[in-house]
């Protein structure tokens, strides 16, 4: 598969008064064309910052301090803000967490679709309306509802409209930030199935940013697990969830509830992530990791390929099988 996106040592820093917060600190990521990648991590791990950096829509106090983002060969970091913005919708587009933020409450959906299709895509109004109807059908909305205003839509319908808009100019890559978090389970499932259909039928390439590993398991073909500003594990979903090689991924799986598993004990990961103002020089998970050794806190672990396409940033990933066995025991995680 051809490489669509390659992120290389990307770092983003926020300035808050006199302090610098290293929200994204050396991220490497590769997305083949047609892949759906789940970017999973907990609050404050930098996943939204990473998504915004890829989109070129970082807030004013954030700077990309190093690294490259190659989208189909073009380095997005080297583009000016204007050039980057000009690529939005055409090369890459965005589905936000709450679609109300993407939709303008005072315009009909048709007019908002026209805005993208005519102004950005250069289509005539008639062609834009035809394409809008097509897009609405693709995401499971009745094309007649194009005449509605966003408030006439339910939450799930708005989310689908936002997806339709993101697909309008056939972008190479769609980035969705927590696209189903605000939705009830049944509607969430409908929107997930919309995404899944797009992946299966149109070969959509997408990055789904989420805190919910179950959403990734349901939808994605690849997963990147992020912790404290870095990707700690990356690979095909069956590999990473079946045979996790990083203790944080193991812990995350243990802590994730499974409706179908009766009475299974949930194991929390004690402690909390490190400060990103002065991140530790060693492994950022070491403080919470039941398997940490002295070497773990002394130097940042290199990313090691544990199987083809499956990598983990853990010096003990060679013993992953044994660590997985121990990680399944509740006592391992008690500190």
């Amino acid at each position: 598969m051809a490489e669509l996106l390659a992120v290389d040592d990307l770092a983003v820093t926020y300035r808050l008064g006199d302090t610098l917060v290293h929200a994204v600190d050396g991220v490497d990521l590769v997305l083949p064309e047609g892949a759906m990648l789940g970017l999973v991590g907990e609050s404050g791990c930098g996943k939204t910052t990473l998504a915004r950096a890829l989109m070129g829509v970082l807030p004013g106090n954030a700077t990309i301090t190093r690294g490259r983002v190659l989208l189909a060969g073009t380095d997005l970091v080297s583009l000016s803000a204007g050039e980057h913005r000009a690529r939005l919708w055409r090369d890459l587009s965005f589905v936000p967490q709450t679609a109300m933020n993407a939709l303008d409450p005072v315009y009909r959906l048709r007019d908002q679709m026209r805005e993208v299709l005519c102004r950005r895509g250069g289509l005539s109004r008639a062609a834009a309306d035809r394409r809008s109807a097509e897009l609405f059908t693709t995401v499971g909305l009745d094309p007649r509802r194009l005449m509605d205003y966003p408030h006439q839509f339910s939450g799930g319908m708005r989310q689908r409209a936002a997806i339709a808009m993101a697909l309008a100019l056939r972008p190479k890559l769609v980035i969705a930030d927590e696209p189903v978090t605000a939705l009830d389970v049944i509607v969430q499932r409908q929107v997930l199935d919309t995404f899944r259909g797009l992946g299966l039928e149109l070969g959509l390439s997408a990055i789904i940013v989420t805190h919910d590993i179950s959403v990734v398991a349901y939808l994605c073909s690849m997963i990147a697990v992020m912790y404290a500003g870095r990707i700690v594990e990356f690979g095909p979903i069956e590999r990473v969830m079946g045979e996790p090689a990083h203790p944080y991924t193991m812990g995350l799986m243990n802590a994730s509830p499974d409706l179908a598993r009766a009475g299974a004990e949930l194991t929390p990961i004690e402690g909390s992530p490190p400060s990103l103002v002065h991140p530790p020089m060693g492994c950022r998970f070491a403080e919470r990791c039941p398997f940490a050794e002295r070497a773990c806190v002394q130097a940042m672990p290199a990313t090691i390929e544990v199987a083809p396409g499956h990598s983990a940033a853990c010096i003990r990933s060679g013993e992953a099988g044994e660590l997985r066995r121990r990680a399944r025991e509740v006592a391992t995680w008690r500190q």
Binding site: E42, D184, V185, R189
Partner: protein, 332 residues
């Protein structure tokens, strides 16, 4: 089993709100009635943990507010320890406010950012006139219960100095400091990260066992209810549609709505079912509920009777009830 006494009992409980659909309607003074809770019967036994699940707009939060006397029912009756909630005088209401406590959803909003943990925990004691001499012991106990050991470390902290998990423990301690017998928790873990959420869920389970609390959990998240509740209620558009032991509700859901809710929950594993859900569309309109069964426009099994007659919550197995004509013989 003879001596089990209900701590909370509701009969035909309903809460209707008047609302306007648009500014134009509001200006014309036109109102219509939103039937948030539309006639439910409920019985919580002492020491039981019961979960109430449903989508947004199902009325589940309103049920919680009714049970805590934070809002008055439009009709129906509600009793706490056999006593009518509506008929309580001031002194009895004050005592009820100690016995029944609410755990808030968002720990970041539930605590005043300028109040230290000590002050947040003292306030309910002062409000319910607990003797000052007792405060310190009570606060220490509450913090131990939520496993914030080393209380001195936390007492003078402000909310922003604590992590999300610690905050939620403080919110829980604030409810427990009054030694309640009844706890209502509205989405107690939905704001927490998974690695922290697991700890709070285990704590809730542990508290139930240690204190024998009666707890009512309100959540959109079946997995939460699965972990902490022995009984589960499912609500749809103001009505209870299923009530049974949690295991039975999850493994043999009787109502098509419950079946869909369970199937819709994604699982943390790659080999999971991706079959289409048995029900489609989105939750209906609580201002204009359908005749008969309120789910019938979304239900693949709907037949004539579902339009004509409202299904009643009837037993499908011992202790397991569902409001669906599929399980009920006509004229039975």
């Amino acid at each position: 089993m003879a001596a089990v006494k209900a701590i909370v009992e509701a009969f035909g409980l309903a809460k209707h709100f008047a609302a306007s659909r648009s500014l134009r309607q509001a200006l014309r003074g036109e109102r219509h009635v939103v039937r948030a809770v539309d006639g439910i019967d409920l019985r919580l036994e002492r020491g039981e943990s019961v979960g109430l699940v449903g989508e947004s707009g199902s009325g589940k939060t309103t049920v919680g507010r009714l049970l805590l006397k934070l809002t008055a029912p439009s009709s129906g009756r509600l009793a706490f320890e056999g006593e009518d909630l509506g008929g309580m005088d001031k002194a009895r209401t004050l005592r009820f406010r100690q016995q029944a406590q609410l755990v808030f959803q968002n720990p970041y909003d539930a605590l005043n950012p300028r109040f230290s943990v000590r002050r947040a925990l003292t306030e309910p004691l002062t409000n319910t006139r607990v003797a000052r001499a007792e405060h310190e012991t009570r606060i220490g106990e509450a913090l131990r219960l939520v496993q914030l050991h080393d209380a001195q470390r936390y007492l003078d902290s402000l909310p922003h100095q604590l992590s999300g998990g610690q905050l939620q423990r403080v919110v829980l301690a604030r409810a427990l400091v009054l030694k309640p017998s009844f706890l209502v928790a509205d989405e107690p873990v939905s704001m927490l990260d998974v690695s922290v959420r697991a700890g709070i869920l285990n704590l809730l389970r542990d508290l139930k066992e240690r204190l024998g609390l009666t707890a009512f959990y309100i959540s959109h998240d079946l997995t939460l209810v699965r972990y902490v509740c022995e009984r589960t209620l499912v609500m749809y558009l103001g009505k209870l549609v299923e009530d049974g032991p949690t295991d039975a509700v999850v493994n043999q859901p009787a109502h098509p709505y419950t079946q869909a809710l369970i199937k819709a929950v994604p699982r943390p594993r790659v080999d999971q079912s991706r079959q289409q859900l048995p029900i489609s569309g989105a939750i209906g309109d609580a201002a204009n509920p359908l005749s008969g069964c309120r789910l019938r426009d979304r239900c693949p099994y709907a037949f004539a009777r579902c339009t004509e007659e409202e299904p009643q919550l009837l037993e499908v197995a011992p202790g397991h009830r569902a409001a669906c004509h599929l399980h009920q013989q006509p004229n039975a």
